[in-house]
């Protein structure tokens, strides 16, 4: 069964409204309309558990619970651990990158980034979802078994 962009849900966790807007713009260009957003780490966890998105774009410097803690909690949560996470952060030290990748991120994009490049990475990821049934979006209400 093929998946259309409309089926996709991508959660954006970012506390800078300017960056949230550019993520929404890039995702809209890919035909993705279901883009819940949050600027808060605790809410990021709650939304991930509720929406079971296909992908999470996660900033590290979030107010309250920081992004790395959010990532670790997601990976410890049986219902969320398979949700792929791309970290998008201004933290550029090798140590930060290693910590995020060790915690289970599938990619690490350093801000500032070239929008076309991030768009291409997201496109590539979505294409991989279309080409194979896994990694799958964990079942959510009414969509059980599709992802």
């Amino acid at each position: 069964m093929g998946f259309t962009s409309e089926d996709r849900c991508i959660l954006v966790c970012e506390d800078d409204p300017a960056m949230t807007r550019i993520f929404q713009f890039l995702l809209r260009q890919q035909g993705i309309r279901n883009v819940p957003t949050t600027a808060n780490g605790e809410q990021a966890l709650a939304l991930a558990r509720k929406e079971k998105p296909n992908l999470i774009l996660l900033d590290l410097m979030l107010p309250g619970k920081d992004g790395l803690s959010v990532l670790k909690e997601l990976k410890e949560d049986e219902a969320c651990r398979l949700i792929p996470v791309i970290v998008v952060s201004g933290k550029e030290s090798q140590n930060q990158v290693q910590q995020a990748m060790a915690a289970g991120a599938i990619d690490y994009v350093i801000k500032p980034f070239e929008p076309m490049e991030l768009g291409a990475r997201i496109r590539s990821f979505l294409d991989s979802l279309s080409a194979e049934s896994a990694p799958a979006r964990p079942p959510s209400s009414g969509l059980g078994g599709i992802f």
């Binding site: 300017a18 807007r21 713009f25 410097m61 201004g90 500032p112 929008p115």
Partner: protein, 109 residues
């Protein structure tokens, strides 16, 4: 746009970005006006750090290369103040003030 154009046409959202940036720069000015709070490592310093970090991250992404450069320099200074590697004297305040003025020029309506 005062810097080089981004490779992707972001014109649909650049106007909103400029509004965001102007608001952030106003907040930076406000924080700079509370210099004693900056020297005491108080909320004004945290605010300067957060805003310079955000402008560094968003500037070049939106095609404003100088904004990222200035934001990075400010973040570096603020980080040094935070770690007590730089005293928050008048010279430092003037330096930050000049950088904010540069940002104001870039986003002048």
């Amino acid at each position: 746009m005062s810097d080089s154009e981004p490779a992707l046409d972001l014109s649909e959202i650049v106007g909103l970005y400029k509004e965001d940036a102007r608001r952030m720069i106003q907040e930076m000015r406000s924080s700079l006006g509370r210099w004693e709070e900056v020297q005491a490592l108080g909320p004004a310093l945290d605010q300067l750090r957060k805003l310079s970090h955000q402008l560094r991250g968003s500037g070049r992404t939106y095609g404003f290369f100088d904004v990222t450069r200035i934001g990075k320099a400010m973040e570096h200074i603020v980080d040094k103040i935070q770690k007590r590697r730089l005293s928050g004297d008048e010279r430092v305040k003037t330096s930050i003030g000049r950088k904010i003025a540069r940002l104001e020029t870039i986003f002048k309506p």
